[in-house]
């Protein structure tokens, strides 16, 4: 809320750590790797080989960095090799990456958070697929807008629940004016 808020006692993990992934996340990355190898384009030319090498590097990176960068690295590894668009294999890889994304929730035993993240992700994904004809830029903008609105609503909702909603000066003036009219 304010800049002078003291830092919270939240564990700050190192950005690169050999023990960054838990077993489920490693399994998820193995699924991604297997999917990539199984669905690689044929024949195995130079471009495909380079894409596979790049994907391998990105998956290695995903093994040692925090969950969100690891998840994005995994997504980057998928895209060059899935030229055919949405497919069951792409969906399977997404399941593997979802295991990676919710790894912090798993670490804190927050199963509801894991489920909620998956539900929201599926919902957003479905919405984007439904509007896929609008173009990538429109979809990206809608996604940004959706997150912004969602976070703002959560913020306002929290303020209301904590009963610390601040009244804006214009509201105060209106209330004062009304009061003066009724009680001259």
């Amino acid at each position: 809320m304010t800049d002078r808020s003291p830092p919270l006692p939240v564990a700050a993990a190192p950005f690169i750590s050999a023990r960054a992934r838990d077993l489920v996340s490693v399994l998820g990355l193995l699924i991604v790797t297997a999917t990539l190898v199984a669905t690689r384009p044929q024949p195995l030319n130079t471009d495909v080989s380079l894409s596979l090498v790049a994907a391998g590097v990105l998956i290695c990176i995903a093994l040692v960095v925090p969950a969100v960068p690891a998840y994005l690295a995994g997504q980057l590894a998928l895209v060059p090799l899935f030229t055919g668009g949405l497919s069951p294999a792409f969906g399977l890889a997404q399941v593997g990456l979802a295991c990676l994304l919710v790894e912090p929730a798993r670490a804190h035993s927050q199963w509801r958070l894991s489920a909620l993240t998956v539900v929201i992700g599926v919902g957003l994904g479905a919405a984007l697929i439904a509007g896929s004809s609008r173009g990538v830029m429109t979809l990206g903008a809608v996604l940004c807008l959706g997150v912004g609105v969602g976070v703002y609503l959560t913020h306002r909702f929290t303020l209301v629940r904590l009963d610390i909603v601040s009244r804006s000066p214009s509201d105060t003036e209106t209330v004062t004016a009304d009061h003066e009219e009724t009680n001259p």
Binding site: M1, T2, R4, S5, P6, P7, L8, P9, V10, A12, V68, P69, Y71, L72, Q75, L76, L78, V79, F82, G85, L86, F90, Q94, L97, A98, L101, V102, P104, H108, Q110, R112, L113, L116, T117, V118, I120, G121, G123, L124, G125, L128, S132, V136, M137, L139, G140, L143, C144, G146, V147, G150, V151, T154, H155, F157, T158, R161, L162, I164
Partner: protein, 473 residues
Amino acid sequence: MTPTARWWAAALAGASMIALAVGARQPLLLAGPVGVSAWLLGVGILTSRAVTRQYESLAVAYRVDVTNPVVETTATATVSVDRPAAAATLPVSLHIEAPPGVTVRDAPATLRLSPTETAAETTGSISFPIAGAFSFPQPEVTLGDPFGLYTQTVCLGPSPTVTVQERSTSIHVGQGGETITNAYGEHTTARSGPGIVPEEIREYVPGDDIRQVDWKTTARLASLYVRETEAESDQSTQLIVDHRSRMAVGDPGETMLAYARSVGSGIVRTAASQGDPLALYTVGAAGISTAIRSSTAAQTYATAASTLYRLSPVGDTDTDPSRSAATASALADRLDTSTTFGEVLYPYLDDSVSYTVRLRADPLVGAVQRAQLADRTDSLLVLITADTDPARLTEAVSLAISRGSRVLVFVTPQCLFAATEPLDLDAVYEQYLAFEELRRTLDRHPRVTVYEVAPGARLERLLAHRRTQPATV
């Protein structure tokens, strides 16, 4: 809830991937930002609920314990935060701020609870350098999620209030235990002259100013009458304040010098309000430490007041007259005080008072002499000192009246300052009687008025004891 830097880093990474998807025209790249968005929103929604529950289960206690809330006292501030074990899911930090005017000495300003801890407490000392009503702000409690993505700050807990009173010096200025209300103030002259206070109406004599003619009386009595008014005069005051080490007697903040300073400041204020010329001499161990020439300029009163405010007791050690205060201080700094040599020599060099005039005779007598030489003889000489050396005090007063001055002496009886609790009231009363005898002796001269300056409460206690047990003395 406010997104943290970690939230923005994740959002920026997702936004970068959206930019990449737009640049590469690859809709599949949006899968990454979708996941990140879902994660950020999911954490936000559940944190909002958790923060609300945590807010309801947190118990914050904040109290300030002070027994006698007067200026310069130290108080203990205790802040604690507690929550049930079932609610220990979120990290919590608690920030405490002191209101302006309160000095925090050693209390940490922040308390932290990790997601698994249930209670924390901190205690520290605070002090109140000034008087007033102080309302301590409620502690600011910052709640967040365990992933460090959102924080929410709320004010929670009590807001203690402490009313700090001025240290009660209850200064007594009077004679023989009787308090007087005005020892120094408005004054009259014994002669007529220009002014506004009517004195008399008399018949006109040649040479009178025509503007003095009282026309109403002239019309009534059929001859010329003039109205005389009392002449207005400026009472030139020379204030001499003793600040030798003997004036350091007394409890901290209630020394003889503190009382002398109060009386001196009152005289400066009165002189300023009356527009009377004022000169100030402060007397140190070896002579006059400050000399302010007589003037009615506003700067003179201000300088005199600030000089009195800065006065501190100075040692009675005799220092080399050829050495400046700065040189003495530099020499003292170079001394190794861990050795016997340095320890013995240090007090002789640590005299940081720069003297305007060094006097070989008693400094107080010398100061009176200087003051009289510097000003005209019909001025009022105000002397503020202690009764430590009655012979020198008598000599100083005798010298003052020998030049025709009127003398006002304020004396702090050492017996009323030096005694420590519990007081031996009978012994103190014996000493007070000796002081009173000295005061009466000095006061006997028609141009001399001597007042005692003492702690009112202590003097009242002494006199009350005397009244209840008159036979013991």
